[in-house]
């Protein structure tokens, strides 16, 4: 029997497939259900200091092989988020609190609250591609990234992951800046948009959004590989994973575990278990005894 357990970015997981931030995780009951139905862990929606409604609909564009979204970081604000964490934690599985802020103190305040609420780790969203003042604007500034990670690692005793954007010229520079993190999470969505030629207007009310789904898998693989090769850090892979083979491709590129978002929409909540089963089967057939054995094996 192949062993699917893995300690990734400081968190022990039953298997390497978890729920990505922002998909099916606004409501604690949804996270709980997804965890019970097979995800190894769940990352919450990104939570900020203040309540935000997010953007006016349309907030998604459905394409073939991808989704473009501009939710606009809707969230109730950190003060009111305790209840959702509490509900999700009834599953007894790891819950990682994703947070967004504009500066180190902002992140620290949110992280401390999340830890109080009982999360198992923190994911810093340094990469939302469509909200001004947050996300990529923060995450593409290496000096700021370094400061944020340093601040958190000095104060929080739970693992801290940094989620990076693919929308940068040099990912290695940003990865280096975030190198004190327990893991890098790669990748957030790819900045994109769609126009309706009959309406002669951008479809998303926010105009710009982020592309996710199978169309971005090869971009994610590239960034994971590049970081593994250049920095040899621990990585959580995310972006376009739909099946066991995709997950293993990320793992061979350097990821210790993976997150799945869009495929949970496309194939339903059962996708976590089926990806897990497919990984197990591939390992069995190829005489791989543990995930550790194949992390980054393709890096040359």
């Amino acid at each position: 029997m192949s062993k699917l357990e893995i300690k990734a970015g400081g968190i022990k997981l039953d298997h390497p497939v978890m729920l990505a931030s922002g998909i099916l995780d606004e409501n604690g009951y949804t996270m709980k259900k997804i965890l019970e139905e097979g995800a190894a862990a769940a990352v919450t929606k990104s939570i900020g200091a203040e309540e935000r409604n997010g953007y006016i609909s349309p907030v998604v564009v459905e394409g073939e092989g991808y989704i473009i979204n501009a939710m606009g970081l809707p969230n109730p604000g950190i003060e009111l988020y305790e209840e959702e964490i509490r509900i999700a934690k009834k599953s007894k599985k790891p819950v990682i609190g994703s947070i967004f802020a504009a500066d180190p103190d902002g992140f620290l305040n949110l992280a401390e609250k999340m830890v109080d609420y009982g999360v198992d780790g923190i994911e810093l969203n340094l990469s939302c591609p469509h909200v001004k003042g947050f996300g990529t604007e923060v995450g593409s500034d290496p000096v700021l990234v370094k400061e944020i990670v340093k601040t958190l690692k000095g104060s929080i005793d739970k693992p801290v992951w940094s989620k990076l954007s693919p929308n940068v010229t040099d990912i290695v520079e940003i990865g280096q800046a975030a190198s004190e993190s327990d893991a890098l999470v790669l990748i957030n969505t790819v900045r994109a948009m769609a126009i309706d030629i009959y309406a002669r207007k951008p479809v998303l009310t926010n105009v710009y959004g982020g592309m996710s789904g199978s169309s971005i898998k090869s971009v994610g693989i590239r960034l994971v590989y590049e970081i593994k090769k250049e920095l040899d850090m621990e990585i959580i892979g995310v972006g376009g994973i739909q099946n066991g083979n995709d997950a293993i491709e990320y793992i061979m590129a350097g990821a210790s575990a993976v997150q799945v978002g869009t495929a949970a929409w496309k194939y339903g909540r059962g996708v976590f278990k089926s990806i897990m089963d497919q990984i197990a089967q591939f390992m069995e057939e190829n005489h791989i005894r543990g995930i550790d054995e194949i992390i980054g094996v393709a890096v040359q």
Binding site: N27, K33, I56, T205
Partner: protein, 249 residues
């Protein structure tokens, strides 16, 4: 994928409700909905209120988007994604349709010669689709008593013999559905509800519409009695657009 569908006809149903008819060559089942984009305004979920050759949506004007939609004319384009959601389980026997307010729009596709309606609204001129039932099969209930029974939808139930229905379908404001649920939950009647919760993506991605871990847009909007019995959040708590949890009442 957005469909661009030409409007064939607009019909005024009540002072604040109108139907928009259009051709669309897809299979849609009773209870499914579409996301209707009004460029420059927003995108709103609407049940398909006629699923035969002629498709239609029936819209109640609430805010800016439905107001703008009410100005649409024959020949204009409708911008539509879908159809989405789990349909009602259609029953060929005696049906009771309980609709509150614009909730009746979601039930319209179930109306046939074996359907009885309990149509509830605030005032008499807001009663929706009462003429689509066979004579004597539409029980009207109004809050102001201006037409039919005075009171809430639950009053209408008292006027029928529930046991004679092979299936009961309910759609309306959540607290109305909750009251009806309370009346029916200990029976073994065959009941389905159609839920409305704040929807953003419409496709089971964003979680804004969820109830007890299920997405109304994908696992619903129709839920059967067993599913509803197992729900904690129903009629009790929900998330606002921001994800802020509020408790009802």
């Amino acid at each position: 994928m957005i469909y661009h569908l030409m409007v064939n006809e607009k019909v005024k149903e009540t002072p604040t409700v109108f139907s928009i008819y259009f051709d669309w060559d897809v299979d849609i089942l009773p209870g499914q909905f579409v996301m209707v984009w009004v460029p420059g305004f927003s995108e709103v979920p609407m049940t398909v209120a006629s699923v035969k050759d002629k498709k239609c949506i029936t819209v109640k004007v609430y805010g800016k988007t439905t107001e703008k939609l009410s100005q649409i004319e024959k020949g204009d384009l409708l911008y539509i994604r879908g159809p989405y959601g789990k349909p009602f389980t259609f029953n060929n026997g005696e049906k009771l349709l309980i609709g509150g307010g614009s909730g009746m729009a979601s039930l319209r596709t179930l109306i046939d010669e074996k359907s009885t309606g309990i149509i509830a609204s605030k005032t008499g001129d807001e009663l929706l689709f009462k003429d689509e039932f066979l004579p004597g099969r539409a029980i009207c209930v109004t809050e102001d008593g201006s037409s039919g029974i005075k009171g809430l939808a639950t009053e209408g139930i008292k006027a029928v013999d529930l046991k004679k229905f092979d299936a009961i379908y309910v759609c309306g404001p959540e607290m109305m559905m909750k009251s009806i649920f309370e009346i029916l939950k200990d029976t073994d009647l065959n009941v389905e509800f159609s839920f409305e919760r704040s929807m953003k993506c419409g496709i089971g991605l964003c979680d804004s519409c969820s109830i007890d871990g299920l997405q109304v847009c994908k696992d619903g909007p129709t839920f059967n009695m067993n599913q509803v019995r197992a729900m904690y959040e129903f009629g009790r708590t929900k998330l606002l657009s921001s994800g802020k949890r509020i408790y009802m009442k």
